[in-house]
């Protein structure tokens, strides 16, 4: 208990000098926190749905103060993998106490990075987010299935592609009120519902469909009420 108080005390001291923001990505389905391969039933368009994999890149993280034109940036790429809960939380620090007006980031990997050779860390090509037969990162990967009357209907969306006119990286911009604990909701129900019915259930290479679906990802990001 004492330790706990001391830690809190230290944190407060720390923050006044050195302002830390935490960013948490929180995927939801039917308004509830999403768990992978969950037996709890989520439904989309009145079909039961199970999500087995959700991974995406968040890069060029910016916290922006409009008035002072101040920004705090983190130029590296982060692989957010729902199977690794620790990867869903990131931190950014300001040297001074500043009001932050918005939080922006790139959903996916930009074209320069895509053509610049081999990387390690979160961009390591062994992490399942790189196409081997054709150079390029997968920006956003969602896999799962609908349980329907006629058996399971699987879907696999591996969205990426850096070549014009099918570039897929998106900018996400979210207005922030006051909190230093930013929780970014990712509404997968909204995404799955917005996919045009005539599209195939497996979209796994760059092109028109990947671009269309990538654009549909933008409105599914929002801030949890502070």
């Amino acid at each position: 208990m004492n330790n706990f108080l001391i830690t809190i005390g230290l944190c407060l001291l720390h923050c006044s000098a050195n302002c830390q923001y935490t960013i948490e990505f929180k995927p939801i389905l039917n308004g509830q926190k999403l768990f992978l391969d969950s037996a709890d039933l989520y439904t989309v368009n009145s079909n039961e749905v199970v999500i087995s994999n959700l991974k995406f890149y968040a890069g060029a993280l910016h916290l922006v103060n409009h008035k002072k034109q101040k920004v705090k940036t983190d130029s590296s790429y982060h692989l957010i993998d729902l199977a690794k809960p620790e990867s869903t939380k990131l931190q950014l620090e300001f040297q001074e106490e500043l009001l932050v007006n918005d939080f922006r980031f790139k959903l996916g990997v930009d074209s320069i990075t895509n053509v610049s050779g081999a990387y390690g860390g979160d961009l390591d090509p062994t992490l399942g987010m790189y196409w081997t037969w054709q150079s390029g990162y997968i920006n956003f990967k969602l896999e799962g299935f609908y349980a329907t009357e006629n058996g399971n209907r699987e879907f696999q969306y591996h969205l990426g592609g850096y070549l014009n006119p099918f570039e897929t990286v998106q900018e996400i911009r979210l207005d922030i009120l006051t909190s230093k604990k930013i929780v970014v909701l990712i509404d997968l129900e909204k995404f799955l519902k917005s996919i045009p019915a005539e599209l195939p259930d497996n979209i796994m290479s760059p092109g028109k469909n990947a671009k269309l679906l990538s654009e549909l990802l933008v409105p599914i990001f929002s801030l949890e009420n502070e």
């Binding site: 610049s116 050779g117 081999a118 390690g120 090509p125 081997t132 054709q134 150079s135 099918f166 760059p206």
Partner: protein, 338 residues
């Protein structure tokens, strides 16, 4: 006191190893002064002797394949300018047949894109394709890396080359790339003529003139490729259904375009074209000359070339001046003996 020194010495040694640059020797590729600058950014990523040496060992080592049977050199043989002779379509693991002919590996530092359709955008990530392709080496890096990390000699070699404890995919890819970037062919008779050391025969000189008139637009000197994508009028193969560059860009203007291959060492790199459909240069020239193979899609693109049978012989004589035996038998490129 003495005991302290004994303990200290090895730790200084180990500490020294930790700093990457210490044990590494920068090297540069050599090429004629009238050549364009390489496309690979050597300033940002210089070559190191230790990495090139490691890359060469890896290139010749079947450990990269799942069944320890297939190495890069199985399909890219140094004596044939690093292509797979006699096979129209390259053979890989378990004798499965790929869908394309292995290209030569020559002057790769000047390439902008790799593979016949340019699907690979940087030589550093090229090796991901053959290593994970089911009909080439049938492996993947997630299984390969532990195998290398537990190997008798590789951990030490990687440490010397990169100064880091653990073998990563980035190091593996860089090492393979560094070796391949050293594969420069610039010592053919053509180069010696350009340097003023040798002279063309009359026949070769005539062939050179025909070449400049008819071929240089795509197979541009001195690399003998623009490194761009073109449609040279081949009738698409109905079984392979290979639409070339279109597969990458999904733009109709790129249908049936393939990377213009270099003609350096063309004497050795048969069979020809992305699917290996022609066995000799005579057949290639017949393709460019005649219209027997025209089809609707390719008609407008075909570079139809008007030359006589005599001129064909001269043109082939010129193409043979692009052979560079010093390249084929360069002791730095062959199977590493130690």
């Amino acid at each position: 006191m003495n005991r302290w020194i004994l303990i200290l010495l090895p730790s200084i040694f180990l500490f020294g190893f930790g700093a990457a640059e210490l044990s590494q020797t920068k090297i540069e590729i050599k090429y004629p002064s009238n050549w364009p600058k390489p496309n690979y950014d050597f300033e940002k990523k210089p070559l190191y002797k230790e990495r090139v040496k490691l890359g060469r060992k890896l290139f010749y080592d079947p450990i990269l394949s799942r069944n320890d049977m297939v190495s890069c050199a199985s399909c890219h043989l140094s004596f044939t300018a690093f292509t797979h002779v006699d096979h129209a379509l390259s053979h890989g693991i378990n004798d499965s047949i790929g869908t394309r002919n292995a290209p030569v590996l020559i002057n790769l530092a000047w390439n902008k894109l790799f593979m016949w359709d340019g699907a690979v955008n940087n030589i550093e990530v090229q090796a991901l394709a053959p290593i994970s392709h089911a009909s080439e080496m049938g492996n993947d890096l997630v299984t390969l890396l532990p195998k290398l990390n537990e190997h008798d000699v590789y951990p030490a070699l990687f440490k010397t080359a990169f100064g880091e404890e653990k073998i990563t995919s980035k190091q593996l890819l860089l090492a393979l790339a560094q070796f391949q970037l050293t594969l420069v062919s610039a010592n053919s008779k053509y180069d010696k003529v350009k340097a003023g050391v040798l002279k063309f025969t009359e026949q070769e000189a005539n062939g050179y003139k025909l070449f400049q008139q008819n071929c240089n637009g795509c197979h541009k000197e001195p690399l003998f490729t623009t490194t761009e994508f073109e449609n040279n009028g081949l009738q698409p193969d109905a079984n392979l259904r290979d639409s070339g560059r279109y597969q990458v860009t999904r733009m109709s203007k790129d249908l049936f375009k393939f990377k213009v291959p270099t003609l350096r060492n063309i004497q050795y790199s048969f069979p020809y074209m992305h699917d290996g459909r022609y066995n000799n240069l005579n057949e290639v020239l017949n393709h460019y000359r005649a219209d027997q193979e025209l089809n609707v899609i390719n008609q407008q693109n075909k570079p139809v070339i008007q030359i006589t049978e005599h001129e064909k012989v001269d043109l082939i004589a010129f193409l043979l001046t692009l052979s560079d035996r010093e390249f084929l038998f360069n002791p730095d490129y062959g199977f590493p003996r130690n």
